[in-house]
Amino acid sequence: MPSLGTWLAAFFTLCMLSFLYKDNPFFRIAESFFAGLSLGYYIGIVANQTIKPNLVLPLMQEFSTNWHLLFAGGLGVMLYFRYIKRVAWVSRWALAVYVGYYVGVNMMQKLHGEVLPQVGDTMLSLNWAGIGTLWNLIMVVGVLSVLIYFYFSAEHKGAVGGISRVGIWFLMVSFGAAFGYTVMGRISLLIGRMVFLVNEWARPLIGLIT
């Protein structure tokens, strides 16, 4: 017989799938459970896996070498001041530090990790050296035509219009690939749930599999 956990998981899975027929109270109950459980799980895991080992324990065990963690902890607490109207402004200071840090990290990350390597990889040799050059040519034409398509300071007529139409074709191919992958991804999720229902719930229920 399936365990209680399996029964619950099967019940909520069927509740979610019932939406395919039409909206109903079982679906909404399962949706609310999911939202609540996710939030509870998130709070618990952050408290146990980050706040406790990275802030509370170091401060309690070796305060003299870890006192600087008070600043980070303090900034975190300051964020919650927004719920007290009179001192809500305090949370903005913490938010400013938070935003400033991530803007700095992301600027470097985008430039160093995306713009430069991706631009560099687009500068391909077009000197004929076999079939590989053809792919290089397709890559260069694709990048340039898509960039022209997104250039809105000139009307898309004449040469600009022609090139931007080529860009649309490249975009369509990429959207097609992305959509195909998306379908595959969604079907995979359905497979996962169906495998659970068949192999872990239904089969043990009728005694077909251990």
Binding site: T50, Q109, K110, D121, A178, M184, S188, G192, V198
Partner: protein, 291 residues
């Protein structure tokens, strides 16, 4: 039959076909062939040919139960490959909603298949950490500060295999099984700024964007969705035949079995698309009756 009635078919009829196409291949496994694509072969070769027994690999569980049907088989195949080759594994998780649970589940499942493995010597689970980007940056300076203890509460510095692993320089490779943007951060932050080779196993939805990173050599391998996972399973089984027994376990969900279902459902969808187009164009060709 009236074409207009066919065109107005209730969408729930299509759902029934898809449900049947999903459930039947789960019950009656077909075993369709799996062809290997270069991105997956690159990932496999990197571990098989460029790493040695005793090397350390970081496996980051950056997905949750919502994408486990795609990512979990990848994780299992990667872990089985590493353990079969004698590679040490550090497991971490950056995905908040279930990354750690997935890490614990998959690690427990695979470790049970290798009774000689010893916790702390051959593998370790350092747990979940919040603020992935900040943690990734800090790990280049000191992994022990980001993960002061493992999941069991043991100080990281006291774990035998972690004594000589302090920064990315002490790790040979990172494999991230990712949903959302966390996988990208391994490529465009950790690889770009710290040079750690990265293999990404993303969900199929996000797989296309990773090809750009792969082409620009910011990644050394890519396992795109369930298909990528099934290819990796095949490569691992071909190289380590003793794992074939594990993958043949009745009731065990594998990506290879999942791809059977995937193929059948795709055929059903293609049939409906073709059917819809034929009916549409046939109806279009007929002259309309005057109102």
């Amino acid at each position: 039959m009236n074409l207009e009635r066919i065109m107005q078919v209730d969408r729930r009829i299509i759902y029934l076909f898809v449900a049947a196409g999903t459930i039947l291949p789960i019950i009656f496994v077909i075993g369709l062939p799996v062809s290997i694509t270069p991105p997956v072969q690159m990932a496999f070769d990197r571990i098989e040919n460029q790493l040695n027994p005793g090397d350390v690999v970081l496996v980051s569980f950056d997905y949750g139960p919502s994408s486990a049907p795609e990512n979990a088989p990848m994780a299992d195949a990667i872990l089985r490959h590493c353990f079969s080759k004698g590679i040490k594994v550090i497991v971490i998780a950056f995905y908040p909603l279930g990354g750690l649970s997935e890490a614990v589940n998959e690690l427990n499942t695979v470790v049970a298949e290798f009774p000689d493995l010893e916790y702390g010597v051959d593998y370790v689970n350092l747990g979940y950490k919040d603020g992935a980007q900040a943690a990734m940056r800090k790990m280049n300076e000191n992994i022990h500060e980001v993960f002061p203890t493992d999941l069991r509460g043991t100080p990281t510095g006291e774990i035998p295999m972690m004594k000589n692993v302090k920064t990315y320089a002490d790790v040979k490779l990172c494999v991230t099984l990712a949903t959302g943007i966390i996988g990208e951060w391994w490529a465009n932050l950790v690889n770009a700024q710290f040079g750690l080779p990265v293999i990404v196993g993303p969900t199929a939805v996000s797989a296309p964007k990773y090809y750009a990173y792969l082409e620009a050599k910011q990644m050394v391998g890519l396992l795109g969705g369930l298909k990528g996972a099934s290819e990796y399973e095949r490569l691992v089984v071909n190289k380590y035949p003793h794992l074939a027994e594990v993958y043949a376990t009745p009731g065990l969900y594998t990506a290879t079995k999942g791809m059977d279902v995937q193929s059948i459902v795709h055929l059903i969808m293609i049939a409906f698309i073709l059917f819809g187009n034929v009916v549409y164009f046939t109806g279009k060709r007929k002259p309309r009756k005057a109102a």
